[in-house]
């Protein structure tokens, strides 16, 4: 396992670098390190392999199964059966999927799968997408396998808020979770389905503050014979949702308030959250709670969330933009290095001052080999990145490149330099074909 700290060691915690508004450090030119690290970890999780004879090589169209570590055992609680999770790759489209396997099921009727088609048509940012469901014997016995989208390194709400350095549950979290779950339920209920498994262990956190309902559709399959009215099931969904939020909310006063002699409403009063939230929570646990009304009740919050999402969208887009630029820079810097300083060109009269290479040589000095007034080297990453970005874009701005002996100089635009480099590079590549 890698020590990600070595990748870009963070500065010491109390270090305060006094920057003027126009000054930057190295990190400002590149993707935020925390973001990068979390994405790298996610990639790593995606690439995990596992070879163990106990796991079949192929299950349905899936292969390369890797068990996902669930550090708790009450995965049986919700389903009434033991369940396992795996990461797997699909043969069909080479993508990654999360397989949830319930062992020892007894499914004999394809009616069991009647809701799966509806479930797989749901594309909601707060629901882990269901793909397909099937039974299989490759594990020994009859197992139900349901395939979902795979989210690397995702953790359940239990893991986040109740285990291993649990994250504190703030009012912001609660509002955010409420809104996301309402978003999910809205679509689910609109499609005439019910989740039936809303539970802290079946809600995963996939990025910062994004939650998704996982394991949808399984209860439908396991209890397909049970023909409860959909309206009833949907009402239960609301109750489970309320319970989930209530359970999360009261963790904030564990130990400081005794719950024994109080009604839920009374307990809610003790919460150290805003009146607005407490009122909303009371409404949730009441019998009146319905989806249409909750939306209108929390409409201003919805706008806040929209504002927040737009901002985080802008942020991450700018990170992407930076890294796309950096990708281009790597390619550009490589081209410069491919062309510049080739041993076979030294001493070749065609490749000295009488060619396109000359401006290139001067340009490399201009970018990387600046000095200060007294002749000492100046290491300025900002200058390098600015110049190379301008070169990549090929702008009209002209720069002054002075010869090494300082006797003459050329005035050339980035646009022209870009053309010279492209042509030089193509010539280099095609040289053997001549």
């Amino acid at each position: 396992p890698l020590n990600y700290n070595l990748y870009a060691p963070p500065p010491p915690p109390h270090f305060n670098l006094h920057l003027n508004p126009n000054e930057r450090t190295v990190s400002s030119f590149f993707i935020d390190d925390n973001l990068r690290e979390s994405l790298q970890k996610r990639n790593e999780a995606c690439l995990q392999t596992f070879s163990n004879p106990s796991i079949p090589d192929i299950v349905g169209v899936y292969h390369s199964l890797v068990p996902l570590n669930n550090n708790f055992d009450n995965n049986s609680a919700r389903y009434g059966a033991v369940s396992h999770m795996y990461k797997a790759t699909s043969n069909k489209d080479a993508r990654l999927y999360a397989l949830r396997r319930i062992e020892n099921v007894n499914i004999t009727d394809k009616q069991a799968f009647k809701t799966i088609k509806a479930w797989s048509s749901i594309e909601n940012s707060n629901i882990v997408k269901v793909h397909e469901a099937f039974t299989t014997t490759v594990f020994g016995g009859n197992s139900l396998v349901v395939a979902y989208d795979f989210y690397g390194n995702a953790k359940t709400l239990i893991e986040i808020h109740f285990q291993n350095q649990p994250e504190l549950i703030t009012e912001q979290h609660l509002w955010s979770y409420l809104i996301q779950l309402v978003n999910a339920l809205n679509e689910v209920h609109d499609k005439g389905l019910a989740v039936r498994s809303i539970d802290l262990s079946k809600v995963i956190v996939t990025n910062k503050n994004r939650i998704k309902l996982s394991g949808c559709g399984i209860v439908d399959i396991l209890q397909h014979e049970n023909t409860e009215d959909i309206a009833q099931l949907q009402k239960k969904d609301l109750e489970l949702l309320a319970k989930l939020l209530y359970d999360l909310s009261i963790t904030s006063i564990y130990g400081s308030v005794s719950f024994d002699d109080k009604t839920q409403d009374q307990i809610i009063d003790h919460l150290k959250f805003s009146d607005d939230y407490k009122a909303t929570l009371k409404y949730l646990i009441s019998a009146d709670f319905n989806l249409k009304e909750i939306q209108t009740r929390i409409a201003p919050r919805l706008l806040d969330v929209i504002d927040g999402l737009q901002n985080s969208n802008d942020f991450i887009e700018s990170q992407l933009s930076t890294e796309l630029e950096n990708a281009r820079l790597v390619r550009l810097m490589s081209k410069l290095s491919f062309l510049h300083g080739r041993p076979e060109h030294e001493g070749d009269p065609n490749w000295s001052e009488s060619s396109a290479n000359y401006p290139l040589t001067l340009f490399v000095d201009y970018v990387y080999h600046q000095v200060d007034e007294r002749g000492y080297p100046v290491v300025d990453l900002a200058h390098v990145i600015t110049c190379l970005n301008k070169l990549d874009a090929g702008i009209e701005e002209r720069i002054l490149l002075v010869s090494k002996d300082e006797k003459n100089c050329i005035i050339i635009s980035y646009k022209e330099l870009k053309t010279l480099i492209e042509e030089g590079f193509n010539e280099l590549r095609m040289r053997k074909d001549i």
Binding site: L2, N3, L6, Y7, A8, P9, P11, F15, L17, L19, N22, E23, R24, T25, V26, A327, V330, R331, L332, S334, K335, N350, E353, S354, S355, A356, P359, D365, Y366, H369, Q370, V371, D372, E373, G375, V378, V379, D380, L381, A382, H383, T386, D392, R398, I399, L400, V402, S403, K404, E406, K407, N408, C409, I410, I411, I412, S413, E416, L420, F425
Partner: protein, 785 residues
């Protein structure tokens, strides 16, 4: 051992022009397709987290001289390819293989010089813009009002450090030697006046001038003229002539000579205080030829170097010609006899008709010589000639030109070969150096000072010869009096400054309002890339060195004080509120007069505001005198009776009459409609100037502003300003005339608009009261009320 190491070492991988990861910029193949090996140490790609990088620099422009001297790459290549080697040395680099640069490329190649442009690839340091002047900031002194605050609050230790700091600041400010080859010393750069809410007088001009020689403000039209005006101010004959001309009355003939005289007189009386040459500029803008030739409404700083030099030289020619015309006008003579004896250069012209052989001889008088590079006279370029100005001047003494003229013989207009010969040199010799940038840069190669501090002129076979040393023969010695220099910085901004000799051997630098002594060595040193001489004055060493400051006193014409001088008509139909002086009342030194003036706005203040609350005055309010009233002030029967109440004709468009303040109605200043005693500014000014020079003491309220707009420099001893006398020192508040009239005199406040006669009267009475209170010791008490 080597063999096994070789085995273990990885050989070059087999060549593969693989495109696993295309180098193509638009490729989307992730660079992370190739992974990292396991690592347990910090990566090499890490950079120190405490490295700081600066961004946001104002981009440094490529030196315009480099661009101008550059050639297109294609042109350069063609020159090489076809063996044409007339490129300046060093441009031997051939940069174009056919096909690499297209013919429409804009890439250029030029000769580079480390001395001129600096070493290669120097990182550009970051400068904060802040207030539009980066390094200059340290030389912007605190406003006077701010300084007073600080001085009062500071303890002795703070004061000490303040003055230490100030000393080093002064050293740097007045340091005329550059400390790097790229830098122009601050004292030569264009200086800005900063305005606080208290106006121009709050700017600490004294910071820039510790001498008793006055500098000129730069925020006026045609401020480039300042440099030349300072030069002539210190030519004794010129000074005496201009100031002497003031003895005569010349109020209706738009005389620039008169304005020059008044300006010189002011510069002397101001004794080191800053002055704005506003009346001189006003007169200049009135003269039609001036606005045609010169760029009156531009302050001359936005031009390229060469055209700025042409501009100041044109002004030189114009000024001298105009002075000669003014003398002729005033003296009603057919030639400016006096001026010709000072600066006149007699020239004989011999015309020979091309083809017809007609020979004519004429004479004319010039006032300045155009000095050109010897080669323009078709003289073979002799290296020796480059080393001194003397051969340049000598060659300017005769010129061959071809002129088209009407021919008496042939009755048509055709070319004439013309030979101009200077027959004699005047006591003050004005030279316009018409040299290109290239020619000027060649001067720096000379080992001795190109600007000779003296030369000797003698007559040889009808021609004037100039030598650097005396030959003992009959000669006239000329010494360098001074010159106007152009200083150009790295960015191509040019400023005009003056070097001039004051007294026997003391040299001074004048840069608008910055005045400082400077060594002769520095004056003559032309080895700086940023310094170019433009107009040079030599003075005959036998001509007088004495400045006659009182030259106007001889036969002083005071008539105008005793008569009406209306621009139109007589007293009939006019509202006259004054009583002319009689000869018995002739002003003496110490005569008290009360004065008040009214102004109208020509141009409102131009201010830049920022939403963070700061503001910057770009151009202050521009006023013009509209009315002035002067009352008799001495005790006696006529105390308080006005003897001057003039309304001034204003030719510029008026932005705001300020009627509720000034009492001036638009029609009052209209020549057609006015019922007031309208007269010219020159006439009004002369009256006031006479009163000043006859020693009158002026009483008024807020006179510092009045005199500034009138453009009169009144010594402190001759001013009694009730605003200053009744000044509340603790609150730093000046009290208004209205308030003081009510509070101190217990008189009815003025109803309706202001009236300058009333105001002057009020000021006079306040003054009387002040004397009374002061004598009885009640002043402080009254003030506190």
């Amino acid at each position: 051992n080597l063999a096994s190491s070789l085995e273990q070492a990885t050989m070059l991988p087999p060549p593969a022009n693989s495109d696993i990861i295309p180098a193509d910029s638009d490729s989307t193949v992730p660079l992370s397709s190739i992974g990292m090996p396991y690592y347990d140490q910090p990566l090499l790609s890490n950079w120190p987290f405490d490295m700081k990088f600066s961004l946001g620099h104002v981009p440094k422009k490529i030196n315009p001289e480099l661009i101008n001297s550059s050639k297109s790459v294609v042109e350069n290549y063609n020159a090489h390819a076809f063996g044409q080697n007339n490129l300046p040395s060093g441009m031997g680099v051939n940069m174009n293989i056919p096909g690499v640069f297209k013919t429409d490329t804009d890439t250029r190649i030029a000769v580079y010089s480390r001395e001129k442009y600096g070493p290669r690839n120097v990182a550009q340091p970051y400068y904060r813009l802040h207030d539009r002047s980066n390094q200059k900031n340290k030389f912007v002194p605190k406003f006077i009002s701010e300084r007073l605050d600080v001085d009062e609050k500071s303890s002795s230790t703070a004061e000490n450090t303040n003055s230490d700091f100030k000393d080093t600041l002064y050293e740097q400010l007045f340091d005329c030697k550059p400390h790097s080859s790229q830098e122009v010393p601050y004292c030569f750069t264009k200086l800005d006046i900063h305005y606080s809410k208290f106006g121009v007088h709050d700017f600490d001009f004294e910071f820039f001038n510790k001498t008793n020689l006055s500098g000129l403000e730069s925020h006026v039209q045609s401020a480039y003229c300042n440099s030349l005006l300072q030069l002539y101010r210190f030519a004794p004959l010129m000074f005496n002539y201009a100031v002497g001309s003031l003895a005569e009355e010349s109020v209706d003939n738009n005389s620039l000579l008169t304005e020059l005289g008044f300006l010189f007189d002011m510069m002397v009386k101001a004794s080191g205080q800053h002055i704005a040459p506003s009346n001189f500029q006003k007169m200049l803008s009135k003269i039609p030829e001036a606005s045609r030739i010169l760029d009156i409404y531009n302050n001359g700083y936005n031009r390229d170097e060469h055209s700025q030099r042409v501009l100041i030289q044109s002004f030189n020619n114009f000024l001298l010609e105009r002075i000669s015309l003014d003398e002729m006008n005033q003296a009603k003579s057919n030639a400016p006899h006096i001026f010709n004896t000072i600066m006149g250069i007699p020239v004989e012209c011999e015309f020979i008709g091309v083809g017809c052989g007609l020979r004519k001889i004429g004479n004319t008088t010039l006032y300045s010589l155009d000095v050109r590079h010897p080669k323009t006279n078709n003289v073979v370029l002799n290296k020796k000639l480059n080393h001194s100005i003397i051969p340049y001047i000598e060659l300017a003494l005769s010129r061959n030109l071809s002129v088209n003229m009407a021919c008496d013989n042939c009755n048509e207009t055709h070319a004439f070969d013309t030979l101009y010969t200077v027959k004699d040199l005047p006591p003050i010799l004005s030279l316009n150096l018409e040299l290109t940038n290239q020619e000027l840069s060649e001067l720096k190669a000379s080992k001795t000072n190109w600007l000779a501090s003296e030369f000797y002129a003698s007559m040889n076979k009808g021609r004037i010869c100039l030598k650097s040393i005396t030959t003992g023969f009959r000669h006239l010695k000329y010494e360098l009096l001074g010159y106007v220099a152009q200083v150009t910085d790295k960015e191509g901004n040019s400023n005009l400054v003056t070097f001039v000799k004051v007294g026997k051997d003391e040299w001074f630098l004048f840069n608008d309002f910055l005045v400082m002594p400077i060594s002769e060595h520095e004056v003559l040193n032309l080895n700086y890339w940023w310094k170019k001489p433009v107009i040079v004055i030599y003075k005959n060493s036998e001509s007088t060195n004495m400045f006659d400051y009182e030259g106007w006193r001889q036969n002083l014409n005071q008539d105008i004080l005793y008569r009406d001088h209306f621009s139109r008509g007589t007293r009939e139909g006019k509202i006259i509120e004054y009583e002319l002086l009689t000869k018995e009342e002739a002003p003496q030194p110490g005569t008290l007069v009360a004065i008040d003036a009214e102004f109208v706005v020509i141009e409102p203040e131009l201010v830049e505001f920022n939403s963070d609350g700061t503001k910057k005055v770009i151009r202050p309010l521009k006023n013009s005198l509209a009315r002035v009233s002067v009352l008799r002030g001495d005790t006696g029967p006529k105390e308080g009776i006005p003897f001057i109440d003039d309304y001034v004709i204003i030719e510029e468009p008026i932005n705001d009459y300020l009627t509720s303040w000034s009492g001036i109605e638009p029609d009052d200043l209209n020549l057609e409609k006015s019922k007031r005693s309208l007269t010219t500014l020159q006439a009004v000014y002369r009256k006031l100037w006479l009163l000043l020079n006859l020693g009158c003491i002026f009483v008024g309220h807020g006179l510092i502003n009045d005199f500034r707009t009138i453009n009169l420099s009144v010594p402190k001893q001759q001013v009694r300003d009730t605003a200053e006398l009744y000044f509340l020192k603790k609150e730093k508040r000046k009290l208004s005339l209205k308030f003081l009239t009510y509070a101190v005199l217990r008189r009815e406040v003025q109803k309706g608009n202001h009236d300058s006669i009333e105001d002057a009267k009020a000021a006079l009475m306040l003054y009387r009261k002040y004397i009374q209170l002061n004598n009885t010791g009640e002043l402080q008490h009254t003030l506190e009320e």
